[in-house]
Amino acid sequence: MMSVTDALPSASEAGPAPKRIVVAYGFWIFLLSDIVMFSALFAAYAVLVRATAGGPTGAQLFNQVSVAIETACLLASSYTCGLMSLAVNSRRRAATYFFAVVTFVLGAAFLALEIREFADMIARGATPQRSAFLSAFFTLVGCHGLHVTAGLVWLAVMMAQVAIKGFRASVERRLLCFALFWHALDIIWVWLFTVVYLMGVRP
């Protein structure tokens, strides 16, 4: 006769979790450590935001229209990345490539706008060496931009892997990790544009 206590196997009897879940958990822990690193850069920026050394302030430098477009690009790329994940789960190869390309283009557009913003600032004399505020700004926003660049390279390599290896389990796990990475980057950007750009335009 079955009692309630032996209806479900205990956690230790169920064996290790599926590889997909374990890999996602491990990568999630790495992402959290990456976010801790960003929080240190955020803390440095927050401490130094008023240290403009007589140079230009955020209110004088930041262009909200550009930031709005960058935000839209990154948010849309996060959405298309989600759609790419769905295509991978249902093994639709053409849809996977399509959404991957769209994600890549949107991410590249974000980077192009950000690089142009940096180039403009440097041309106006607002270099990282000008003041502590600018050093902190370039480090924080630049670090995020480097992460986006690495993500785009990773996406390109993943598309090559899908083309060569197909949708085998290891490729699917790596695409899952990429999706986690890309969404986390968008979360960091939410904080970036709120703290740096939106709070920065108010004197």
């Binding site: 801790v36 929080s39 909200q64 935000t71 948010l75 996060s78 959405y79 703290v195 939106l198 108010r202």
Partner: protein
């Protein structure tokens, strides 16, 4: 598909609201940074639930715990740095000129 679309719509609404809050004169100015922070936390929540699928299912408990720990560390790093640096600022000796003015009695 629907999950991602809902997430996108919510995120767009929160982003647009943030930009409006930052630029409007309708709100009490000292409250604006807090309002922006609240909107950012809300949007982070939207991203976590709708895009990253950090939900409360039994498969997800480990992820939620790891996230909670991460949030704790981030909080300590940011708030701790700001608190310590503000304290240092307050307790630093003023430069010689101000010192002379300070001690005139």
């Amino acid at each position: 598909m629907l999950v991602y679309t809902i997430g996108l719509v919510l995120a767009v609404i929160l982003t647009a609201t943030s930009f409006w809050v930052a630029n409007t004169s309708l709100l009490w100015a000292p409250g604006i940074p807090l309002g922006l922070a609240v909107l950012a936390i809300a949007q982070m929540g939207v991203h976590l639930v709708f895009f990253l699928h950090i939900t409360t299912g039994p498969d997800n408990t480990n992820n939620v715990l790891a996230l909670a720990f991460g949030v704790l560390i981030v909080f300590l790093v940011v708030v701790g740095s700001l608190w310590i640096m503000a304290n240092l600022n307050d307790n630093m000796m003023p430069p010689p000129e101000l010192m002379n003015l300070h001690m005139q009695h």
